[in-house]
Symmetry: C2
Subunit: 374 residues, 2 copies
């Protein structure tokens, strides 16, 4: 697409595009986004100037289009900037669209019956070898919040090698990886054969690990099925059913805590985190580790019904997918969005998972590279 005309006054330059659209660009924005070698490092594209170095009364002295480039002259500092029209098209055709890979607006929300053709999955061999398959699997994490990897070798520590494909291990007090199996004297109920309701891990950690991996090495017990649930959908249902409840849980922060002999992890965070547009960006729920709830009695009276409502939505079976993770399968999920649960399991047989954490930023960075090289 081309720029067919432009007109400028000292404060603003307006580009008219061949499709009839127009983009008004304030003088200060243009000066701040100068792509010249004095203002941006030619190698890495980093901005070399600080906003305070730009004169406060910056205005446009003149502008002209030539050969796919826009030249702008500024007063009072006499600076000249050049912009490729293609750069302008890519970066400011619509100045209202920010990059957003976290909020509910950019996600595909799902419920129990949303995957009639099976859950998003990928063979580990293709994931490891093939850029396209890996890209699609990472897109599933971005869009649905999870993907299953099949035929991951049942070797201890393989979960850490899976992470090397897209990011970095987030080590915690549970170690670089943690063993999920029934133990004597468990420091965490995860390490028993009790059922666990839908929850997100580590709300007592700030920042919370954005990704969790659970790799099944053995699965011969009765029970122990896995459950996943879209926490963004659940929070949006809460908002639909009772806006006040949603607002209480996003605006009234609480404490979470985990304590054992070595650790005492404490956070102060909301159940539902929203961005500047009130879009959901993160959810938390873990009945085991909600700390003592400190609120004045009048606020407790409105907080508890909202909290109960949230917990009740998270128990609705229609929102959940349930499946048995078999030996060799691994689930990779967004721990800021997708809740997981497991059914209680028998004392006979063996159920052994290895888990690890990672972060969303590494995965999205990898996905961005795969998408731009496609």
């Amino acid at each position: 697409m081309k720029v067919v005309s432009l007109h400028s006054d000292p404060d603003c330059l307006t580009l008219e595009w061949e499709d009839g659209g127009s983009t008004p660009l304030p003088a200060i924005w243009l000066r701040d986004h100068c792509q010249g070698a004095e203002c941006r490092d030619p190698g890495n594209g980093q901005r070399l100037l600080n906003i305070t170095q730009i004169p406060i009364d910056t205005r446009i002295a003149g502008a002209e289009l030539h050969d796919g480039r826009l030249r702008v002259d500024f007063e009072p500092d006499g600076h000249h900037s050049e912009f490729q029209v293609d750069w302008l098209l890519e970066h400011c055709r619509d100045l209202e669209q920010q990059h957003d890979d976290r909020s509910e607006r950019m996600k595909r929300l799902w419920r129990g019956d949303s995957f009639p053709g099976g859950l998003p999955h990928c063979s580990y061999e293709l994931f490891r070898d093939g850029a396209d398959h890996q890209r699609d699997a990472l897109r599933a994490v971005r869009d649905y919040g999870f993907v299953l990897l099949d035929a991951v070798p049942c070797e201890s520590g393989e979960v850490l090698r899976v992470i090397e494909n897209f990011g970095y291990v987030r080590e915690t007090n549970y170690g670089p990886l943690f063993e999920v199996r029934a133990r004597i004297d468990a420091n965490n109920l995860a390490y028993t054969n009790l059922g666990l309701g839908c929850h997100l891990d580590n709300p007592y950690r700030d920042p919370v690990p954005g990704l969790q991996l659970l790799h099944c090495l053995a699965s011969s017990t009765d029970g122990g099925e896995s459950v996943l649930q879209d926490g963004f959908l659940a929070a949006s249902i809460l908002r639909e059913e009772n806006l006040q409840h949603f607002e209480i849980l996003s605006r009234q922060w609480i404490n979470f805590r985990f304590r054992d002999a070595d650790a005492d992890l404490r956070s102060r965070v909301p159940f539902i985190e929203v961005d500047d547009r009130d879009n959901i960006i993160k959810v938390r729920f873990n009945n085991r580790s909600i700390d003592v709830i400190h609120l004045p009695p009048a606020q407790l009276a409105v907080f508890y019904p909202a909290y109960r409502h949230w917990a009740e939505i998270l128990e609705r079976e229609a929102l959940q997918v349930e499946f048995k993770l078999e030996a060799g399968q691994l689930m990779l999920f967004d721990n800021t969005r997708v809740l997981h649960a497991r059914r209680a399991y028998s004392a006979t047989g063996t159920r052994h998972l290895q888990g690890a954490y990672s972060d969303l930023d590494g995965l999205y960075s990898r996905l961005n590279r795969l998408e731009s090289s496609a």
Copy 2:
């Protein structure tokens, strides 16, 4: 302190303390916080019941004090709970006080002249060996946002071993550790001999690493002095000087981005992050990696003056401490609060730092353990 009397109605139990204070505890709160073995795992203290398992019409049928314990009987489920009075004193004497180790309310804000006796520091030997010295150094990180460690062996990789004392390495695309020295074809301006203005690292990463360590292995150049600045104080100055500017920067999120051959890291976050009480909990500033600013023109007109004001405060020398990091010194600082800068340095001589990231949650967990065992 003792409970001298209690009176209860079905909805609320009120404890009267011997100092004349009183604590009203709603029935649902008491039932939810039951410390009995059916409701809490006796080993790890994790809550065994979900809020949805507590009857919605829970009320107090009776309550009595006996031998330092409070017994409460509930209807309609006939549940009995016991609480140690000491537990109640510790956890609900004042239901309005939440645990908060992140916000400005809990910090000691500082400016350039706040440390007439020298910057907070600790010898590495004492830090490593002595619980009290380590506790005091970690408190300095919590309260002031930074501490200097002296006489850290000038061995490559030592910065990673320092982290083992209190937490875990947050590996990134720059590696588990990164070398800060002038390089040819630097992918980041940090790896040149240019001066860098006050900034926080990695605002394009979400979650941002909460801690940064910079360990000086060689320092024989002219220039290259280090600067630190309290970003919480700077943000509070912005709020005092122009509340509207503060609100624009906390309520209007923007994109940050870092891109090279391997990574494309993108975030959507505010310059100033506040909690549910509008207290500052995190600040960001890095002119190099602010992405294209996407806002409608009318919002740009109010955003730019606020952004300039924020940048201008961050250049005020009276807010900064400046010092030369010598070989063997290491600075450990809160990357959600404390900005750092370095002066340009000469091409002759050697300046070599090794850096690494970690997270605040691990450090605070360690500090909580050291404080509770003191």
